[in-house]
Symmetry: D2
Subunit: 284 residues, 4 copies
Amino acid sequence: MARHLLRADQTLVVYDVLPSNVAALVAAGATAATSVRDAAAQADLVLTMLPSSPQVKAVYLGADGVIAAVQPGTTLVDCSTIDPHSAREVGAAAAARDLAMADAPVSGGTGGAEAGTLTFMVGAPGELFTRIQPILAQMGKNIVHCGASGNGQVAKICNNLLLGISMIGVSEAMNLGVALGIEPSVLAGIINTSSGRCWSSDTYNPYPGVMPQAPAARGYTGGFGTDLMLKDLGLASDAAKQAKQPLPMGALAQQLYQLQSNQGAGALDFSAIINLYLSTRSQP
Amino acid sequence: MARHLLRADQTLVVYDVLPSNVAALVAAGATAATSVRDAAAQADLVLTMLPSSPQVKAVYLGADGVIAAVQPGTTLVDCSTIDPHSAREVGAAAAARDLAMADAPVSGGTGGAEAGTLTFMVGAPGELFTRIQPILAQMGKNIVHCGASGNGQVAKICNNLLLGISMIGVSEAMNLGVALGIEPSVLAGIINTSSGRCWSSDTYNPYPGVMPQAPAARGYTGGFGTDLMLKDLGLASDAAKQAKQPLPMGALAQQLYQLQSNQGAGALDFSAIINLYLSTRSQP
Amino acid sequence: MARHLLRADQTLVVYDVLPSNVAALVAAGATAATSVRDAAAQADLVLTMLPSSPQVKAVYLGADGVIAAVQPGTTLVDCSTIDPHSAREVGAAAAARDLAMADAPVSGGTGGAEAGTLTFMVGAPGELFTRIQPILAQMGKNIVHCGASGNGQVAKICNNLLLGISMIGVSEAMNLGVALGIEPSVLAGIINTSSGRCWSSDTYNPYPGVMPQAPAARGYTGGFGTDLMLKDLGLASDAAKQAKQPLPMGALAQQLYQLQSNQGAGALDFSAIINLYLSTRSQP
Amino acid sequence: MARHLLRADQTLVVYDVLPSNVAALVAAGATAATSVRDAAAQADLVLTMLPSSPQVKAVYLGADGVIAAVQPGTTLVDCSTIDPHSAREVGAAAAARDLAMADAPVSGGTGGAEAGTLTFMVGAPGELFTRIQPILAQMGKNIVHCGASGNGQVAKICNNLLLGISMIGVSEAMNLGVALGIEPSVLAGIINTSSGRCWSSDTYNPYPGVMPQAPAARGYTGGFGTDLMLKDLGLASDAAKQAKQPLPMGALAQQLYQLQSNQGAGALDFSAIINLYLSTRSQP
């Protein structure tokens, strides 16, 4: 993501807890900061990408954090995937200091980041969305306005909730069909032109041999890891619990990915969930 | 389906347990038969459409049934949706009398039957498929060869298994998103261009107000009934049990449609499952 | 079961498809019959124990079956575990020939059969129950009247449905507690004196090391096999489907035992389901 | 709980955010404190009972909290039901000030509190358990040592996880049996002497008419509320997520109670979950 901004002639001041990450970007034309505070104090727009909500809260709300450090008028954009409640809490803290802040989680994986084809799901007032859209467009292809603060996170976790369910649905349907005697590519072809059609079936089919470019064709390496899917389903079920909404299929999907992860497959692409359906006798 | 064949100048001999159904087709140009045996004895191609496997077995295998009644060389095509095991049992009984038989379940509903846009999923040897394809094409738009005997049924139940799961996945994702504060049509728009994309979301979205032509826009009337989805998920879980394949998401989906049916919604379109997620306080 | 009757000085005429089974009982004092028909024709009380409903229907309803072969006034008792619908169908066929018939499935396993401590769950009119109770008491300890024809099967599958669910509940609770740092025997002790108390916890605990006499103490050998539990949960979910009753926990339990069976554990005691919860890293 | 201590001639200094609660205990012989700090500073043993972990953290860890306020050598006992992780975090903060602290959540409900028959599940070093056991015994009947800090919480949530699952298991088994034609009290009697036996069946049966003293006999009023069961299942699934343990049956149970709560039954006893299984046609 940073490299795309550098190629677009943006001036970048960068900071990361891993010095090697900073050094690599300095070699590509960025300037190094010595701390979050140092980076934030120099920016007119702050972009962050962090693993989960405790880090986001620490980086934005801490005594040496972004909100304390920035100049008035600085724009804040957090690209982390976290729960909507925390995103709104940080957004409210920014607003209390008259800072405009957007949540803008991405989808598309490391492949999309490198190719500049990420989707950004943006929660922000319309005026702010309009202002940051051109910058996000230097790193991604689809920049989608999802409504007010926190709604970028809502869109991301709802999409991935459905994705996690659909992938298991495709796994069950493909595995059952093959056990009943149909050719996997014939079954995939029928589903993909019928009412079972979905991205997990027509673009990312988990059955080996059906799609040459899907993770199933390369031993489920690369792609979107099972443990990352688990994280997102955990965000969805937590948000559902807080909102007192039932989520039976989502909760079961989460548990099935947990079973699969505990069988040693957490680092494999999430479409490897289909292996949970194969008997030990049929596995290679 | 019969009317499309009459319009294509086919000669039809018809039989049904309801005399009024026979009379309506006679008025449209068909000839009435007095029994299954009578109809079968006059046909060079027999087409049947029956509610479930006991009826299919009775009509084909009974002492006065199709297989006993037809002339040598008659072609048999059963369009019922039944379990693959029964379809293959009937197909084998036909083969034992040197009769060529195909299973050819349809999707597309009564609307598709009237419009002539049904999909036929055909289990038959290649030569037989080639021979019956032009006749099925007079009643439907997509005539798909799924492999040998019984594979039409396999394709149908695997597609509908995935459809039943996807629809609940969309219901959970839409309901959760709205509870967390996003506009339903905004969320649907994002999902439909992202990895959660599926037919249940982009063509048949269950959330009211998102799609003017979906059953959700007309109180879930018309469409594909919840109790029909229940029947197909029952066929899938039975087949999975016989084949010793796990089906956790499919089994849970079946139970959720059963809960919904028991709340009085069996005759509504299956996308009404989203109502199971609304609290009593929020229902109209 | 037969040996207990012989020890009680009953006169036994025996038949089985395996001649060695017949020979073993002849050595113990029984008389061999040459067929179902031959055995049934000589009996004033017929006792059967068969694997599933197709065999029960064949043995009772066939042209050479029990109902055709017996003398007027013979009493029929089927001890197989089958679906209530089939049990009632056979019972009705017996009644049509004025024969009194009871369904009397057992629980207690091969150990209970040898020790004479089986439980018989009897579906029969009160008068018939009174009449056969003393004979069943020669083979078992608890002879329970469950109501009219078929109700023995109902009681058996409902009890085993709950048993299958409870065992997974205990597995989840024990596994979670240990992962969170409590000693397994301490946790079992607390549960067994609290509201989580159940037979699966206080008599048959699946966690290794908690109970010296449970299958968990001997590598899950012996006991009640996973594939037999799968059969009974299949009967329960089929009966629920026919009765249009939801069964979400039962259906999920069935799928989890199927997953476990497919990992090569079908012949192990059903309490081995706890192994599904252990990560590959923690398994021996 | 406080009244039992007063009756045992303990000297009580009490504080609550609701002044009326304080006044009622003062009338019974306690002394009022004006704040947490005021109460804690006067105590040699602090007992707390709070709704969830944020309150426990605030009351113990805040600048004016218990740990900051107490005299050296004061003993701390928290009776709240919270997640084990938070319990251990607070326990570690106490230990850092050389204060002995136990987590001692209770079961038995408001009825048990009034009758003095609560069960206390205590996480504490052995020496501390020995010291506080006599005091807890003035309020409860079973005082169980569960191991080190946090293990009281572990025992409580694991027991209630199993309880929540068992109650749904009993509901499914009873509802299915009755639909198949057996008398509910006959079925309960069989289960209660068989391997399906559990507290939810033999002490707290959810089917109306089976047990005169259970909540089912009084419209599911009183008892342990559905929303409290939801809270405990939420603690279990959160703890499982952090510990990376699968919990499919527990997660599904949680969702079924959420469905039931959203149909307006959150305040009813948790055994009212059986109503989820009744069709609208059969409900009164």
